[in-house]
Every structure is written in structure tokens, then in C-alpha cells.
Assembly symmetry: C2
Homo-oligomer: 502 residues x 2
């Protein structure tokens, strides 16, 4: 049980006391230094919102005063404190993140707060809060049923409606079930404004989704990439366009306007469902390839030479992250619940089901090939984030893999260069690989293909040299190349289901 | 019932008597003019085999004597006769086809025959015969069950084994169930050679699949494109590589060798299953888009700007052709029948099921929107081939669409610039559009997006001017653009589910 009086920085372990009184004075002070500037409020300081505060405070064609807002609870308050202390709350391999944050610091045009008063001073409010799917799955991660809880999202919108100016531009960037802006957010904001005796025909509501890729191109994936947008009406669409032009390099990456908010909302979940489905499709084929003694990685490399097939995916330990694991379900839920269809999006739901089972396949592969009982065995997992070179552990496939190992009584050691505290599991993660390799390990599993592990001669040397020989080394994500496997095989048992076999 | 004494040219209507005696003398004569040249025999003169004879007779680095072989039956003999008469048996929009054929003619290094004697003189035999899936579907084209009939393929291989030299190179290009070369062809050839008291360790057997695209780049899709190959053993792989280098621009399109024939066979069906699945995936979403009043074509255009999503497909009247309609089933069949798995490739099978139902969706859409009874209505179908600018009607989605219309008593007129005789339906197809537009039509349906229909001002004018107004015009494949739709709407009812809505 978390202590709700504190919020712990997952990157540094630093502990903050959650404040009890508001930030109004701090906000007024901040604004007094930025008179005449438009005020942008970013709601939600997660992987998208945090970097959006940097994009807005370093806008291309206008100087904004930017306020980042998150909740004063144990999960989120540390992000607010960290920003205000001058430490960006996301570790990213993109050097531009630090560069942008330094520029922001020296301009002093970014403040973080938990106080809803911020919404009342905003000209533009960007909604970057989460909208979660609740999955009910069995041990093998087979999805039994799921639900979408709109409540927290509605609450976020309500907070805006209860505080905002009547002519504010509200730009929803959250990935929402198609239909949400029109059928949920729009009536809710109107209701709030009516209750406040304000005009209901002046606010602008739009939807535009980022295609952010935390990692080496974190900043560019927002500032220098294509954007799709829409408005609840013409005026809203125009306002969204005007705003986006100030923060995105639209001359190189032209904006695309779609006809209505349903369309942009659908585009986002369709993009991610397409990706999820392409992975799920390959899972089935990887089973076939094993049967036929075919190296699927070799086959896919050959096929990818066709431009029409260059995005074919490779199966690994599993699919993680906040988007691909839930967006197909958001879509299917919306079809049934916001548009009253009796039919789910079957293929998209199936994709999630299949992908969710991938860690179990990897675990079973380990069990079959390791042969001995796992109880008491010392297992080092290299990488816990769901993707290379990021600190994001949300829905990482390493989590169920970790759970399976734990349930068999294995003793687990964790390494990740980007994660200090594995929030979801509430365990610490070491970044001291040399120290970890001194443990009497039985099994090493590459779970994330962080750059640090790739073509790292000294890492291979260190693993070769560890004291107890004949460790079982399992590369689930194609970290090792053929040569490295050969070196490791001199002293260990190596199973690589990735590119290493090529 | 076809008359088995005749074979009718489906392109010209010309009738040939099927010969009763062999071609040995003709083959010997042909070879006497090409002494010292290696002899390439292409087995099967369909859309791949026919063009392979041109690629080989115009090889890049060697001068070959090429013999094309097909069966002396009503479906195939006309191709043999046509080649020998100087008329290439495939109509293609690629001007290189005629150019290559003219060069071949002037060199005189191509002969077509039905006589198995050809195999006995071959140094290389390229297998380009069909391998079909027998589908059992209900009226709505829901796949109930299916089977793979290996017999004709086995017979083709047996004919080779019973006639070939003991050191021949046999290169299978046919799309086969993964495992076929190793588990079916290899033992069969050995058996034949043993029966003939020949050595069984000298022949070379390889697999390499073309990625032929009949259409504007027909020749280049073979000569200037990536190739994947394998051999049943090292020696075979080397021979295949050496041969491919003589016919393909391998300096620009490097060859990729895979570890075994299972791998290349799997690569081919995986490529096509991936494509089939990507289409099927979109079918489900197009239903959702209709519900949410979203133009999916607009959404997909926006998404395609992402390089990782540039191959997202658009749903149309359906999926046709010889590959995408069956290759996923070949794969699933192989998994169960050649590798004894109890599990089919479910997602791949589902893709075929969904795609097969697309013509019914299009038909239902027509019925709902036309509103009147279709009995006795005059319907013009524009395009019968399964893809733009080709004459291939195999498994065209227009066929079930045609059947549905017929079953409701509609009177159907057919137009296609590339098809003279619709072989599968045994009906003639007109290329005289002006004449067809003089009929008292009720409905016009664009079924294939032939270039001839696209941006064709005079066609739009002709349709606008047809006598009886208020025709129902249904564009299933995105032939019409917005402007054309507006012009047509002045005198007709137009429904366009394609790019026209943009």
C-alpha cells in the first residue's frame, strides 16, 4: 500500500511530501513575469504531457507561458516537484529533451502545478491525461473481458469546464474511444459552462493526436512529424490549426485536417490497432516457423526488402507500452458502447489477446530449454522497459514474464539503464551491471534491446568471464549477433530467438 | 461442357484444334538452330510462366534456347499455338512485354510445345504450374472448409522426373505449401530417377519465388526486383544462384539466400498472407467507419503519411487474383498436413474468410441504396479483371458480385479493355464502351480501377449524356474523383465508396 502523504520520484528515489494548500500565488507570480503572453496549460505530465510542456515553452513562432498540471497524489506529485526543481521527469535517450528543458529553464516560462486555478488563466488547454482499459485476463494472459473506465477522463474534462474561460481552446490529445469528443467531452463542457452561467458557444474543442516516440527522437516525434487534427466545429478546427502551426514544423510536415473528431479519434486507434495486429499476425507464424525449422527472422529480413512489406514486425518477448496494448480495445469498446453496434472489432480484439500471451510463450520456451526446476534459480533480467532506450515500464511484457518466474520460485535480479524504480512492481532496478554479474547467476535473459546491450564488447566479455560457467543465456529480443553468440557459447548455453541466429 | 477437341484463345476468340501427335521433330529442329546453348524449359505458360519464357529468352548475361511447355487441353493449348504464331498469350499494359516478345521472335530462341520430350533436353527446368486450393464456401462466401490438391503438381513433377537428364536443375517457382520441395518434390524426383536407373545424387532442386505483378511493370517485376532463393542442398543453391544471376539484375536487386526450401516457401506464402490480412483487417474497420460517419479513405490517407503505415490497404469490392485468395490457406494446410500440427493458422484463415465476403458487402450496399428490385434491371459492370490494367480474371471479386446480380435476375453487360472472353464464366466481354452506353442501362458499377477509366473526361461525358437519366452509378474501387462525381450527379445517382468522397 502506497503512503498517500508522499510521492516518490521513480527515477531518483527522492521522496516529496504532498502539499495540502494551493498554488494560486505561485501561478499569479509566474504570470506576472509573462504579461502579454498567451497561457498554455498542459493537463497531465506523463510521457506525452511532460514533453508537450517543452514543445510549447519552446514554440517555433510564438512565446508562450506554459503551465503543466498534474494531480497531487503519490503517483504524480513528484513530476510537478521535479520540474519546478529543474529536473525533467522523464529519462530519455534524446539529447534534445535536456537541451529544450535547459532553454525553458533559462527563459523561465514553464511552471508545474497541481492547482486547478491554472485552468482559469489558460488560453489553450491541452489534454494529455490517461484513458485506461481495465483488462480481466487469466494466468496465461488470455483476455476474458475488459472495460473502459471513462470516469477519470470525464473528471479531467469536468475540472477544465468548471474553471476555464468561456472562449478557451481545449485540445484533446489523449487517445480516446472514437466518439468521445463529440458524445462525452463536448456535452460535459457545455454543462459545466451553463452551470457557471457562461456562454456555451464561445469555447473551441478540438482533437489532435501526437505520434510521440519516447526514445532517441522524442522531441522530433512531436515537433517534426505529421499531425492530424479536427475540431468539433469549423471555428474549433481553425483555432487548433492556428495553434499547431506555432509548435510544429508544418512547412516540412504538413497538417492534415479530417472532417470531424470521430475521424481523428478513429485514425489514432486505427494506427495502433494496425501495428498490434501486424505483430499478432507474426506470433502465429513464429509457431509455424519453429515447427518447420525455419528461422523466421531470416525470412522476415528477406521479405522486408519489398517496400510494401518493409514494416513487417518480428515477434519478441511481447508487446508493451501504453498504446498497442489497449487502443484496439478502446476502438472495439467505442463501436459497441458509443455507437451501439452489436459487433466488436473482432480482429483487433484478437490481436490484443494474442500479443498478451507472448510473454508466456517466451517463459515456456525458457522452461523447456532450461530443463531444470526454476525454484531458487538466480535469474538476471536485462531490461524492464517495454521498448529500447526509454524508461517507460507501463504494460511492459517483462512484467508477466517476471511474474511467471516469481511464481516458480526464481530469484530475480533486474537491470535497466533507464529505470530506477519499477513503479508497477514497486521494486528497485539496478543500473550496475558489473555488480549484478558478480551474483552466482543461473540464467540471463535479454528482455529489452537497449542500445547499451547492442554491440557491447565489454558486456560480452563480462558475461563470458562470470565465475560460474554454463549459465543459460536467453535473448528474446535480438540483442546478440551471431559472433557474440559464438563467443558466449564457449562458456554458456545460449538460446537466441532473435537476429542472433542469422 | 467444353469441347476437349478445341482450345479457344480467351483474348481473341480464335479456335485451335488440339493436336494428337507429338512435337519431337519440331523440338529437334528448334535445337538444331541453337547448338551450344543451354536449354531452359519453362513448365506452365500462365501469367508467370509465359513471361518467364521472355525473361529467359532475353537473359542478361547468357543466350539460352527456351522451350515453354503447357498441356494440350482446351484450357491451355491455345497459349502454345499463340506463342508459336507470334502472338503473346497475355495482354499486359507493360510495353516491355511486346518489346521483349519481338526481340525473342527475331532471335527465334523460343518454342512452345506440349510434348514432354522437351524435359529430356533441358539443362534447367523452371516449374511455373499452378497449385490450387479447393474452397467450399456458402452463398455468402463464408469459407466452410478447403483442401489442397497436390495431385496436379505432383503429376507435373513426375513428368519432369520421368524425362529429365540426371544432372538437371529443377527450379520450383510455383507457390507451394511450405515443406513441398523437401517432403513432396524431392522424394518424387528421386523415385522417378531410380525407376529409370539413373543417378539420384546429381540433380539439383531449388525454390525461388517471383514477385511478378502483371500490369505496367510486368517484366521489371521479375527482371528488376529482389529475389529470394534456396536449394535442397548446397550444390542446388549454388546452381540456382548462378542461373538467377543470368536473368535478374542482381547488382541492383541483390539475391537473398535462405537456409532451406521450407524457408523460401514460407516466405512467399507469408508475404501474401500478410497482404491478405492487412486487407481483411480494414474490412472490419470500414464497417465501424460507416457507423461513425467517418470517411475511412480520408482517415487512411492521413495515416499513410507515416512511413511505418504507408502500406495500409483500402477496402474495395474484394480481393482477387491467384495469390491472396489462397496462399494463406496453403500455409495453414501445410502446417497441419505437412508438419502435423493440430493448430491451423487461424488469423490467416480468418483473413481469407473475411476477404471472400467483401463482394457480398458491395452487393448488399448496392441493393440497399438502389432500393428497387434488381430483377430485369440492366447493369453494366466496368472491369472484370481482379486488378487494374491486367487481363487476369482468376478469382476476381467481380465474379461473386456478378453471380449475386444474376441470382436476382439482373441483366448484365460487361466491359473490360483487357478481357475478351471471361474464361471462368464462359461469357464474352465487350471493349466497346460507347456501344454499351447506348443500352438502356439502370445501373453502372465500376468494379476494376483500370487506367482507362481514371481521369477520362470523355467517359464522364458519355455517361452524363446517356439517354435514360438517373442511372445508379456505383464506384466500388475509387475510379471517380470528387469533380467527376459532381458532374455525374447532375444527371444520375452516384454512390462512391472510394477516393471520390475525398
Amino acid at each position: 500500500m502506497k503512503n498517500e502523504n508522499y510521492s516518490i520520484n521513480t527515477l531518483t528515489g527522492k521522496k516529496y511530501i504532498i502539499p495540502l494548500k494551493g498554488d494560486k500565488k505561485k501561478i499569479d507570480d509566474f504570470l506576472s513575469h509573462h504579461k502579454g503572453k498567451k497561457v498554455i496549460v498542459v493537463q497531465g505530465l506523463g510521457f506525452v504531457g511532460a514533453v508537450m510542456t517543452l514543445i510549447c515553452s519552446n514554440a517555433l513562432t510564438e512565446e508562450y507561458a506554459v503551465i503543466g498540471v498534474d494531480l497531487a497524489n503519490s503517483n504524480n506529485y513528484w513530476k510537478i516537484a521535479s520540474i519546478n526543481e529543474g529536473v525533467f521527469p522523464v529519462v530519455a535517450s534524446d539529447p534534445k529533451v535536456e537541451e529544450f528543458f535547459q532553454k525553458t529553464q533559462s527563459k523561465g516560462n514553464l511552471l508545474a502545478t497541481f492547482d486547478s486555478y491554472a485552468y482559469s488563466v489558460a488560453d489553450v488547454i491541452i489534454v494529455d491525461i490517461n484513458l485506461d482499459v481495465l483488462k480481466n485476463s487469466d494466468f496465461s494472459k488470455t483476455l476474458i473481458n475488459y472495460d473502459v473506465n471513462l470516469k477519470p477522463f470525464e473528471k479531467g474534462i469536468e475540472t477544465i469546464g468548471n474553471n476555464c474561460k468561456e472562449d478557451v481552446l481545449i485540445l484533446v490529445e489523449t487517445t480516446v474511444p472514437p466518439g468521445t469528443c463529440e458524445k462525452v467531452a463536448y456535452p460535459l463542457i457545455k454543462e459545466c459552462l451553463l452551470n457557471r452561467n457562461l456562454a456555451i458557444d464561445k469555447f473551441k474543442l478540438g482533437h489532435s493526436y501526437e505520434r510521440v516516440m519516447p526514445g532517441p527522437n522524442y522531441i522530433d516525434s512531436i515537433q517534426n512529424f505529421y499531425r492530424v487534427y479536427s475540431g468539433i466545429d469549423n471555428n474549433s478546427a481553425l483555432s487548433v490549426e492556428k495553434f499547431l502551426r506555432t509548435i510544429i514544423s508544418t512547412e516540412n510536415y504538413p497538417l492534415t485536417q479530417l472532417a470531424n473528431t470521430n475521424a481523428t479519434e478513429m485514425a489514432k486507434v486505427l494506427e495502433n490497432s494496425y501495428r498490434a495486429m501486424n505483430i499478432a499476425f507474426m506470433v502465429e507464424w513464429s509457431r509455424f516457423a519453429e515447427l518447420a525449422d525455419v528461422n523466421l527472422y531470416e525470412v522476415v529480413s528477406a521479405i522486408r526488402m519489398r517496400p510494401t512489406h518493409s514494416n513487417m514486425m518480428l515477434p519478441g518477448i511481447g508487446v508493451g507500452g501504453y498504446c498497442l496494448t489497449k487502443d484496439p480495445l478502446l476502438a472495439s469498446w467505442a463501436k459497441q458502447n458509443l455507437f451501439d453496434s452489436s459487433q466488436p472489432l473482432k480482429q483487433s480484439e484478437t490481436s490484443v489477446k494474442i500479443n498478451d500471451q507472448m510473454p508466456l510463450f517466451a517463459f515456456n520456451y525458457l522452461k523447456e530449454n532450461f530443463k531444470e526446476n526454476l525454484s531458487g534459480k538466480k535469474v538476471l533480467l536485462l531490461g524492464v522497459s517495454y521498448r529500447s532506450d526509454i524508461s517507460d515500464t507501463r504494460y511492459t511484457p517483462v512484467e508477466p514474464f517476471y511474474d511467471y518466474l516469481t511464481s516458480e520460485g526464481a530469484k530475480i535480479y533486474l537491470h535497466d539503464p533507464y529505470v530506477h524504480l519499477w513503479e508497477e512492481k514497486e521494486v528497485e532496478v539496478s543500473s550496475d551491471l558489473d555488480q549484478l554479474l558478480k551474483e552466482d547467476l543461473d540464467i540471463l535473459v535479454f528482455c529489452t534491446n537497449h542500445s547499451e546491450y547492442i554491440n557491447n564488447e565489454s558486456l560480452i566479455q563480462s558475461i563470458s568471464n562470470i565465475k560460474n560457467k554454463n549459465n543459460f543465456i536467453f535473448d528474446t529480443v535480438g540483442v546478440l549477433n551471431k559472433n557474440e553468440i559464438n563467443i558466449l557459447k564457449e562458456s554458456h548455453t545460449v538460446k537466441a530467438v532473435g537476429r542472433g541466429d542469422l
